[in-house]
């Protein structure tokens, strides 16, 4: 507009486009190049890890893997698969009620000083190295309580590790429910227990489940806390909670790769394949559940 008016008045205008200096253009280009490079390095590492595990594990993925037990240098992985499932599900059974109670407390009564303290301590507990947890389990349960390498010791050690994760995801899920829902519940005369179990937990269930899936994935992938609590066994679990060690997949990865036999190495890669894909599937499934339920319910939005 302005240019046209000026031109009708007989004044010439020169259209001047803004152009950044060469230095800035080069800086930008180099910056984006570095950023792309950073991302490509990460992507390369991811695909290298997954690719290595898939390629090396592929030749051994036969039914025998799931039907035979390990025998020291080879065999199958039946006992280790069973052990991994027992340990993760067991630790979940211990950690879920406690962690969810802590999460409910944090979201419903966590505004004060005690809530902040609990939140802070649970953040610190996340930072405790897993091998330290394992050594604690060894001292407290394996030696002091005399349980020996056992399912119970492994399960409780893993459960301590999972507590803060479950507490955190429960707290976030509950906090997302608007206060009007709580007020409606109390207005209809519900007690606090009633409100939590009948109204808040069902509403927050998908998000809590996502957190629990994440916790199971985490416990399946752990090795260090189990080395000195669950021990290792070449046999199937016989149902005893104490005095009997149990096998698990991550141990196979670590110990069989150090054996000098090709068969052991293949078994290690097969175990890595099962663990990695189990973990990734659990996490993707949790995400998918969360997205789907939010779409379906509108999730109080």
């Amino acid at each position: 507009m302005a240019t046209e008016i000026l031109e009708t008045m007989g004044i010439k205008t020169v259209e001047k486009r803004y152009a950044p200096s060469w230095r800035r253009q080069w800086g930008n280009a180099l910056g984006w190049l570095a950023i792309m490079a950073a991302f490509l390095i990460l992507a390369g590492a991811f695909f290298s890890i997954i690719g290595e595990v898939v390629v090396k594990a592929f030749p051994v993925l036969r039914p025998a893997l799931f039907a035979k037990i390990t025998n020291g240098i080879g065999g199958g992985l039946k006992n280790a698969i069973e052990g991994s499932l027992v340990l993760s599900l067991g630790s979940l059974l211990v950690a879920a009620p406690i962690g969810m109670a802590a999460g409910i407390y944090l979201s419903e009564h966590g505004a004060g000083r005690w809530g902040s303290a609990l939140r802070f301590l649970s953040d610190v507990l996340v930072g405790v190295p897993s091998i330290v947890l394992g050594y604690f389990g060894y001292i407290a349960m394996v030696i002091y309580l005399g349980w020996q390498f056992s399912v119970a010791a492994g399960v409780i050690t893993l459960a301590v590790m999972l507590l803060p994760y479950i507490a955190r995801s429960t707290e976030l899920a509950m906090a997302n429910i608007p206060n009007a829902v709580r007020e409606a519940g109390y207005g209809l005369g519900a007690g606090e227990g009633h409100l939590v179990f009948k109204v808040l937990l069902p509403g927050a269930a998908p998000a809590i489940m996502t957190g629990i899936f994440y916790a199971v994935a985490l416990s399946m992938g752990e090795t260090a806390p189990l080395l000195y609590t669950a021990g290792w066994s070449n046999y199937m679990w016989n149902g005893h909670m104490t005095q009997e060690p149990i096998g698990y997949l991550t141990y196979v990865i670590w110990s069989f790769i150090n054996e000098p036999f090709a068969e052991s190495h293949m078994l290690a890669f097969a175990a890595a394949f099962l663990i990695t894909f189990g973990v990734l599937m659990l996490i993707l499934l949790g995400r998918w559940m969360l997205v789907r339920s939010q779409r379906k319910l509108g999730a109080y939005r």
Partner: protein, 318 residues
């Protein structure tokens, strides 16, 4: 008033969480007390881990029964742990910032979502699988091709020259740790970039800055505390990492790294690998000394985490 059953059971259950942390510290301290008294403070800065003559008869030293010539000093472990984690943090920071910028600023939200999921998945790969990858891919590649070339080309830089080693060592451990902690830093940073006040970014854009310049001159300075806090948090994670370091570090005993290719050992990896031999000690002092290492590692990790959380708290990141 009715006794609040629900509320009190909630509190009782929730208090198990801090109690487990307390039990952790108490048990480790009580169990390692004899070792703490026997080793005193030079435990931390002497470079001498020796279980002694395990076939001899136990002797009394300073009022404690130990194996002959047994000495416990973990300076090499502290150096190995701190060096590998610190190098990992330094390498991870630019990678994480790059990935976060690309995902938060460099592309449309609909395209960024699946790609950021993939960075998050990187964080969930079990550490023993990272270790396996390091063992099977990185160690042969680096040890046979990259390190010899690096040592040759960079021989004038301190710590980069010298014997390139076998591939197991400080730098390999740091590289594996780097890939493990990048997703942690990147996820928090991406959230923070997305949370930054859009008005600030728009103001920068309207002054003619490019997206990248806005990030560099406006967003990043604003996120300085977040970057520092989350880096320290990642450092804490790297300090305590066990399996991956155990599988690629070379498990050195009693010597300090003289260049970045030297085998090292970290406190966490040492605890995991040494319990079997410590159990051979009939006086039990070796197992208690390992417990003392666990206690030291725990205290370092707790201190680092507390500092990081306080910094993040100040930056209001949860």
């Amino acid at each position: 008033m009715k006794f609040p059953i629900f509320r009190s059971s909630l509190v009782a259950m929730a208090s198990l969480l801090p109690l487990s942390l307390l039990a952790l510290i108490t048990f480790l301290t009580i169990y390692s007390w004899p070792a703490i008294q026997y080793n005193q403070f030079h435990f931390l800065w002497t470079n001498d881990w020796d279980l002694g003559n395990l076939y001899g008869d136990p002797v009394m030293e300073h009022g404690f029964q130990v194996m002959p010539h047994a000495r416990y000093g973990i300076w090499f472990l502290i150096v190995g742990t701190v060096a590998s984690s610190f190098i990992a943090m330094v390498l991870a920071l630019p990678l994480a910032i790059g990935a976060a910028v690309l995902l938060a600023e460099g592309m449309r939200k609909s395209r960024a979502a699946p790609l950021s999921l993939f960075v998050d998945l990187l964080a969930s790969i079990p550490s023993v699988v990272y270790g396996l990858w390091g063992y099977a891919v990185l160690v042969p590649l680096l040890g046979q091709h990259v390190y010899p070339a690096m040592a040759h080309a960079l021989s004038f830089v301190p710590f980069f020259g010298g014997a390139p080693g076998s591939g197991y060592g400080l730098l390999t451990a740091s590289l594996v740790l780097t890939i493990m902690i990048v997703p942690l830093i990147s996820a928090t940073l991406r959230e923070s970039i997305n949370m930054t006040d859009p008005a600030l970014k728009e103001a920068g854009r309207s002054l003619g800055l490019s997206r990248l310049e806005v990030f560099w001159h406006v967003v990043l300075p604003k996120l300085r505390t977040v970057v520092i806090g989350v880096s320290i948090l990642a450092l804490g994670r790297a300090l305590g990492e066990t399996m991956a370091v155990l599988m690629v570090s070379g498990n050195a005993l009693n010597y300090l790294p003289n260049n970045i290719y030297t085998p090292i050992s970290s406190m966490a990896a040492f605890i995991a690998s040494q319990l079997d031999s410590a159990l051979q000690d009939p006086t039990n002092m070796a197992v208690q000394a390992l417990s003392e290492i666990a206690l030291v590692l725990l205290l370092i990790a707790v201190a680092v985490n507390v500092i990081a959380r306080l910094i993040l708290w100040m930056a209001r990141v949860r």
